[in-house]
Amino acid sequence: MSVLEIQSLSKSFGGLMAVSKFDLTIEAGQTIGLIGPNGAGKTTIFNLITGAYTPSEGTIRFEGQEISGLKPWDICLKGIGRTFQVVRPFLNRSVLYNVMVGAFSRCESKARAKAEALDVLAFTGMLAKKDMPAKGLTIPDRKRLEIARALATRPKLLLLDEVMAGLNDTETREAIELVHRMLEEKKIAILIIEHVMEVIMSLSDRIAVLHHGQKIAEGTPDQVARDPKVIEAYLGDEYVAA
């Protein structure tokens, strides 16, 4: 059974078709990349999966169960975690507090939540900053916090929206490392949006390319990178050369 199965998903805002007839399947343990020009509809797909928006059309199945129409919190409790492109930490609270909020989704007691949160913080390398208020974090750190918080809800599928933007190459490498560890230790499937090609190319098992809300290509990183439609709409010719 696939972890996630999206069929013919569409969403319009007024007259604008932000996503149209989008299909995608994710198998357990896979990492799928989602790329496309700015405004192509990538984040909208995340919002549809997580229930922040209701689809105009189409179905979304999570572990075989229809989830479109469910509320965001129910979807989270079913096992889908997400990060936000524009990060949204609880600014006035500590890093630990932020992650504990996530951890509470799987337990009732404060002590358990705290232990769980500390685990996740250690895993994501944020332990040193656990008592810092979230508003004191830089944007990349906030993104890391966002991952930690989502991880604390023990998702089976994690949606990462541009969590590596703003990292330099070395930091990017570390981040990729983190994702790899997530895949191995936590055995989660990942759907990742990223404009940084190194990340997408090295992480993804498959890549879907979105343009004006429509999927214009899907395949292995190599296939996608050579696809002329993708080059024209997204990558530019430099990439062919490279």
């Binding site: 020009p37 330099n168 190459d169 070395t170 404009h195 997204y234 530019g236």
Partner: protein, 236 residues
């Protein structure tokens, strides 16, 4: 004497020191790049220059005039203009209104009409959409508006904070094409970027910031060849 001189400044957030004894200078017509790990303090430096963070010690001079701890609007008045991280457009205003606000200082205001003309020539795509609300523009277009808005201020120094952040590769290229165009207008540029390779290739000089301290400086080429930098930032 350089256009901008930063001498030994310390900057804090509350109790936490973020910039330590930091010095830097920029000359006329230069493109200067600052690179550094995240949390190094790059944005803090830019924000400090723009008067958004107070300076605890040290001095900043621009065109010979002391500007540390001046409010943002006076600094814009003096000629330092920032294109902030994340664009920060006025979402419920049209592109044109955003651009006009860019010229909200006594140097630029009188020539507003003419500058607007020039800037729109530089960004023909914006000319088509001058009456569209900023929030409905795509990410790349928004970045263009932000840059154009910066140019509207007739800056004597233009600072970019990670202008390529979150842009599709095609647009990243576009942004890196625009920066030399700015220099062509005889406006020096201070650029903060994570896209180390491309920005070092483009700049005249670069600085490396680590934990709030300037650790290396040199010409773009020198830095590109520097082993430490390769290891730390280029992932080689």
């Amino acid at each position: 004497m350089s256009l901008l001189e930063i001498n030994n400044i310390d900057v804090f957030y509350g109790q936490v020191q973020v910039l330590h004894d930091l010095s830097l200078s920029i000359d006329d017509d230069e493109i200067v790049v600052i690179i550094g790990a995240n949390s190094a303090g790059k944005s803090t430096l830019i924000r400090t220059l723009s008067g958004q963070n107070p300076v605890a010690a040290g001095h900043i001079r621009f065109g010979g005039q002391a500007i540390e701890n001046r409010p943002s609007h006076e600094i814009v008045e003096a000629g330092i203009v920032q294109i902030p991280e994340g664009r920060r457009l006025f979402p419920f205003m049209t592109v044109e209104e955003n651009l006009m606000l860019g010229a909200y200082n006594s140097r630029a205001m009188p020539e507003l009409k003419q500058t607007l003309q020039e800037v729109l020539e530089l960004f023909p795509r914006l000319a088509e959409r001058r009456h569209q609300l900023a929030r409905t523009m795509s990410g790349g277009e928004q970045q263009m508006v932000a840059i154009a808005r910066g140019l509207m201020a007739k800056p004597k120094l233009l600072m970019f904070d990670e202008p390529s952040l979150g842009l599709a590769p095609l647009l990243v290229k576009e942004v890196f094409n625009i920066i030399p165009k700015v220099r062509e207008q005889k406006i020096p540029v201070l650029l903060v970027e994570q896209n180390v390779k491309q920005s070092l290739a483009l700049c005249d000089r670069g600085y490396v910031l680590e934990n709030g301290r300037m650790v290396i400086q040199g010409s773009g080429e020198e830095l590109l060849r520097n082993k430490d930098i390769k290891k730390a930032y280029l992932g080689a």
